[in-house]
């Protein structure tokens, strides 16, 4: 009798517990569903249709993908190749610097130099600005006639209009803009490394470089993996910098896939949302594959 009563009580308790668990994750779950899950599912569906935003989407099966992958004569085939190639070039050029520069700055700040808090704020500040503000600043810096870079080096390089300068400009702007986020993560990680390791290394006569590679790097391996993956994903979604700084030029060499996607779906002409969605799905798959590879190679082996 008593046991059965106890049982119902515990059962009741556990359902209440379950409910409160759901309630706690609910805010995130709702936002996740509204702003991520539903749009993703809808986007994948749209990629199998012809849609102009005005009329109802018509289902066309794999036609969009066939056109993008196999129809050599199609403008959209060219767009996908150009856009994807340029996106990969950008990721390959930008991500290493987006990791190394903040890491070095964090390591430098970690030695607590004079005014380290001030420098920390200065390094972090660009991350607070919108990309449009950042690009306006750098457009002035790279200005052909009056820009400080051309004045200092006494050149007349059209930075944003010729290669490889356009890529260099884009990477510089991106690194400057994104230093803050990764730097903060590295600073926190570096703070967490026990001082004893370094003291022991000092006794053994290790140099600063040795300490960096043998102690610092291995200790923050987890954070580096996290930032490499997150930075890569972020840079795959590059859009604002080339849109405003180079306009995709010269000769489409910095036109990244997102620019094509945006223009096809929400350009100034009638929308071609089906093709745009298919391109977006392909970009998403690329990001997933690259992230998976990074995980495989960088995961801490225990």
């Amino acid at each position: 009798m008593i046991t059965s009563m106890e049982k119902t009580k515990t059962a009741k308790k556990s359902t209440t517990k379950e409910w409160s668990a759901w309630l706690f994750v609910a805010p995130h779950l709702i936002i996740f569903a509204i702003f991520f899950l539903i749009p993703v599912v809808f986007g994948i569906y749209i990629s199998f249709t012809d849609w102009d935003l005005f009329n109802a989407p018509t289902f066309v099966g794999l036609d969009n993908y066939k056109e993008l992958f196999f129809n050599v004569d199609s403008t959209f085939y060219t767009q996908l190749r150009t856009g994807l190639t340029n996106t990969f070039i950008f990721v390959l050029c930008a991500v290493p610097f987006c990791i190394i520069v903040p890491l070095l700055l964090a390591a430098a700040l970690n030695t607590k130099p004079f005014l380290s808090k001030v420098f920390q704020s200065i390094f972090y500040m660009p991350s607070l600005f919108a990309i449009s503000a950042i690009v306006i600043i750098w457009t002035l810096v790279f200005n052909v006639n009056y820009g400080p870079i051309n004045s200092i080096f006494n050149t007349s390089t059209p930075w944003t209009g010729t290669q490889p300068y356009a890529w260099i400009a884009l990477v510089v702007v991106t690194v400057w803009w994104t230093i803050g986020g990764n730097m903060i993560i590295y600073q926190a990680a570096l703070n967490g490394i026990p001082k004893d390791y370094y003291e022991a290394a000092d006794i053994d006569g290790a140099t600063a470089v040795q300490k960096f590679f043998k102690i610092t790097l291995p200790s923050i391996r987890g954070q580096i993996l996290y930032t490499v993956v997150m930075t890569t994903i972020a840079q795959f979604n590059v859009y604002g910098q080339p849109l405003m700084l180079t306009g995709g030029g010269p000769n489409n060499s910095t036109r990244v896939l997102l620019m094509y996607i945006q223009q096809n779906a929400f350009g100034s002409g009638q929308s071609i949302a089906g093709i745009a969605s298919a391109m977006a799905v392909i970009l998403g798959v690329c990001i997933m594959i690259v992230s998976a590879i990074q995980f495989k190679f960088l995961r801490v082996k225990r």
Binding site: F24, W51, N145, Y146, F266, Q270, S271
Partner: protein, 421 residues
Amino acid sequence: MKANKMAKWLMMGVCAGLLVGCGNSSSSSGSSKNEITFWNPFTGADGSNMVAMIDAYNKTDPEYKIKNVSLKEGDMYAKIPTVVNSGKNIPDLTIVHAERIKQYNDNGMLESYDDLLGDYENINADNYVAEAWNLGELDGSRYSVPLDIHSWGTYYNKDLVEKYAPGALDDNILTFDEIKAAGEKAAADDVRGMAVTWVKPNFLSLMKQYGGALTEDGTEPTLDTQASKDAIGLWKEMYDEGVTTKDGEDPTQLFLAGKLIFFPEGIWLQNNLKDAEFEWGLTNSPQLSDDLNETVNWASSHQFVRFNSEERTDEKEKGIMDFLEWLRTNSLEWAKAGQNPATLDILNDEEYQEMPQSIFISTPEQQATLSIFDYKYNGYVAEYLDAHGFDTIFGKQEIDDFTSGMQKEVADKIAKDSSNK
């Protein structure tokens, strides 16, 4: 236990708040009974001129007041199909660019003004600039009423014109030959003859002068033509001969620094030139011939349209027409934004006559130079010109590739338009 319960309620509150937030945002654009919801893309400096006009109108105590909703252009155009399809919260009145009207009409999204114009006989062809008025008439019905006609022109530095091109502007028409001569003279002093600016209006104006057109039948593009090649070719030639600004140079900066004679730009740019420390003027965009009858100035127009809506009552329709009729005779504020109102009533205003941009409307001959390219697929052409125009002028792409690429890209995009099939 108590804390647990409280947390639960708190979470529930947060969730409810989230949902409420979602509900609210979608209904905020809905209009109340005696208000006309008016969507427009005026978020820049011109937005405050529009607000001033609406305030002035609302002060006349009309039965239906105007509720201004300014949206970022890209957002507004992305929102329109969704809102119109949903059938809810459709704006009562909307400003769209002239180039979009055919597309909206072909999708059956616009309501015609035919039944309303009877009571407002002053809203007619005689009282508006023809180029802006005519495009609103499709298949014998009127779907839009123009607010303005904003065109492309050339700003010039009066001192530099005096020095390098005396007399070139006596007829108010600037030819490429005159620019070339002036630019060659000025090059020695490190002054540029002409700026390479937004390719779309420059190219389209010139292509039309060479006898080209975006389309012959309204659907198929005709872009890989000799006229296209000649138009982009002439700009390239000007650049090659060192007459123009160079790749990467900022024309506005050079103009303000007194290093540029001729600056082809839109009439709306003049507010940016207020800081100029020299006298500047505004004239027609660069031409092939100095005959005013052959002059072409690229133009576009903001047009009032009404998207299909079952919620809009007949009384409200009347309120909309009252507003449009009021604007017909009260558009000076819009001219202050640097624009040219499409209503010819403005020509009677002395203050307007003093404004630099009034040259384009001042005479019927000048009005005839204005050319709106309202090809249904104009947007695709614009995207291509924006992406490839500068590259071709600056010698990074061959002229033949430019024109054939334009034809192909625009045709490929049109092939995707399901309303065509």
